[in-house]
């Protein structure tokens, strides 16, 4: 990768990434102090339950909340995907990047590496501070009994989930050219996926450990698919569609089909009856068609933008 390209990208992203890091630090201090407030431990006891010796995500026990990988970091990664991909479209940095003499693929992977690298740095820094606050708040005589299995599992599963969150917003911000609609779309999709994951984990016959690792693997695979697919699309990104819902008109039909099927599926699964599913199908089909094929607005925009 080209050193000057990284310098260029860092020069542009540094303010927003540093701000994200600073906010993250403040929030994590608040979360850590709040966690410490939930602890019910007596001298001679251990702060963490025995679950910390298992290869699974450690969040809390009956002694209180001790999160070895904070859920807040999932949100930080989620926002990171938005900041890196959507903002380049909105502040027109893509125009500069596309004329900068670097291959689109090189720009894409450099952006991704830089973004994930900085987010990992933020994760290490904020989690370090979180552990420090925990350590300082541990009551006298109580052991802060960290153990590798719980620690590594929390980081592994947490990072996999975080990268998945990042990939969702990163990819969606590449194909959606309207910021408000993008936030609504991705928020809805993310919440539905999280909700669906909870339903799904009750259906499958796996142990909690297996379920967590299987889910983490799913996030990593999904993220890899989205990253690679995104790189293919990025190379074809043409900026005349900036401001339209879809930056790639060729994706209208696939997006429409996926949207209608997904919404119908969600309502059918949760309700378990035919009527809600049919209603969801009709509403999503009509709304999706109206939303994606509004030729009048689109033409008006281009008429003023053609020159």
């Amino acid at each position: 990768m080209n050193k000057q390209l990284f310098q260029l990208l860092w020069r542009h992203y540094r303010k927003r990434l540093i701000a994200l890091g600073a906010i993250s630090l403040l929030v994590i201090i608040g979360i850590s102090l709040a966690d410490a407030g939930t602890w019910v431990v007596k001298p001679g006891q251990r702060l963490l339950s025995d679950q910390v010796n298992q290869w699974m995500l450690y969040q809390f026990s009956n002694r209180g909340t001790v999160s070895l990988f904070s859920f807040w970091l999932l949100f930080v990664f989620w926002v990171g995907g938005f900041l890196l991909m959507n903002q380049d479209l909105k502040d027109h940095f893509n125009q500069f990047l596309f004329t900068s003499g670097y291959r689109r693929q090189t720009i894409y992977w450099a952006k991704l590496l830089l973004g994930l690298g900085v987010l990992l740095g933020i994760t290490v820094m904020t989690t370090g501070v979180q552990y420090l606050v925990y350590w300082l708040k541990v009551p006298a005589g109580v052991t802060f009994n960290l153990a590798w299995p719980g620690m590594l599992a929390s980081w592994g599963i947490g990072l996999a989930n975080a990268v998945g969150m990042f990939a969702i917003f990163w990819f969606a911000a590449l194909i959606v050219g309207q910021t408000g609609a993008l936030i609504v779309t991705v928020s809805g999709f993310t919440l539905s996926v999280v909700g669906w994951a909870n339903v799904w984990s009750e259906w499958i016959k796996m142990t909690p450990v297996q379920s967590e690792w299987f889910s983490a693997l799913g996030w990593v695979v999904a993220a890899l698919i989205l990253f690679i697919w995104g790189s293919v699309l990025y190379a074809r990104l043409s900026l005349e569609h900036n401001g339209e819902y879809l930056m790639f008109p060729g994706l209208k039909v696939p997006v429409y089909i996926v949207f209608v099927l997904y919404v119908t599926f969600l309502f059918s699964v949760n309700a378990g009856e035919l009527a809600p599913g049919m209603t969801a199908f009709i509403i999503s089909a009509l709304f999706g068609y109206w939303w994606l094929w509004r030729p009048r607005f689109s033409r008006l925009r281009h008429r003023s933008d053609a020159d």
């Binding site: 003499g101 689109r104 043409s238």
Partner: protein
Amino acid sequence: MLRVSKLRKTIEHHDIINDISFDWRPGEIVGLVGRNGVGKTTLFRTMTHQYVADQGTVAIDDHDLLAEPAYQRQLFFIDTQYNFLANYRLNELPDFYRLVYRDFDQARYRELLQRFNLHAGDQYRQLSKGMRALVNVILALTSNAPYIILDEPFDGLDVIVRENISTMVIDEVADQQKGFLISSHDLNELDGLSDRVLLLKDSRLAHDYNLEDVREKARKIQLVFKDKQIPDLLKQHSKLIRVSGRVLVVVFPAYTPELAAQLQALQPVLMEELPLTLEDLFRANLSQDTGYQMMK
């Protein structure tokens, strides 16, 4: 040499530019003119790959910019409508441009800011339209890219600054190392600058004028005839650009001694040659508000 070959861009199934081909060499100042909405900026955006072309190529010294994007650093373009500069102070902009344009001249950039009374600490977004246009030109000149595209560079600038910029552009091409492709609605400004003018019409390149050749062959003549009837000779060989009562101002694209003799034979009351400007060519080729059809 930069070569644009059969470039085409379609938006919403409409050809915005189609079959655009031309060559452009360092040392040339090429003007790009055309009516509003004809696709001048779309041509620039497609040439610089902000828009993905539906067809055609842009190559520098036979290197296709799509296949070998590094050559794109020889081509400079700031989109006046959509650029990332708004969030930065003027003294921060070289941090970006020096990383892309290896010969970016920071010292000259600072010197030009001072010369035009621009404060390095000011944010780009706080500048007036004219001052922004000036910063764009300064960045273009100090990039030291061999091919520089300027989109409406004189828009919003006062006459003194315009003259300064024109002088700088002419100085830059003197050593034949740089070429400019300039779109402008200020045809008088282009007239004094350009060696060549590309005329876009109906999404296509309608004419590629060498102004020296045009001035050699074409004539602008003011005529008054005794009666109101327009002679067929005029309708066949000239383009009407202005009518005021019985005074006709016409442009003959290919004026010959034979044509002059035929005109004299029509015994006009007044026949006077006027200086031919780029605006006259523009009117003769593009105006829909004047022309012989309006007099029927």
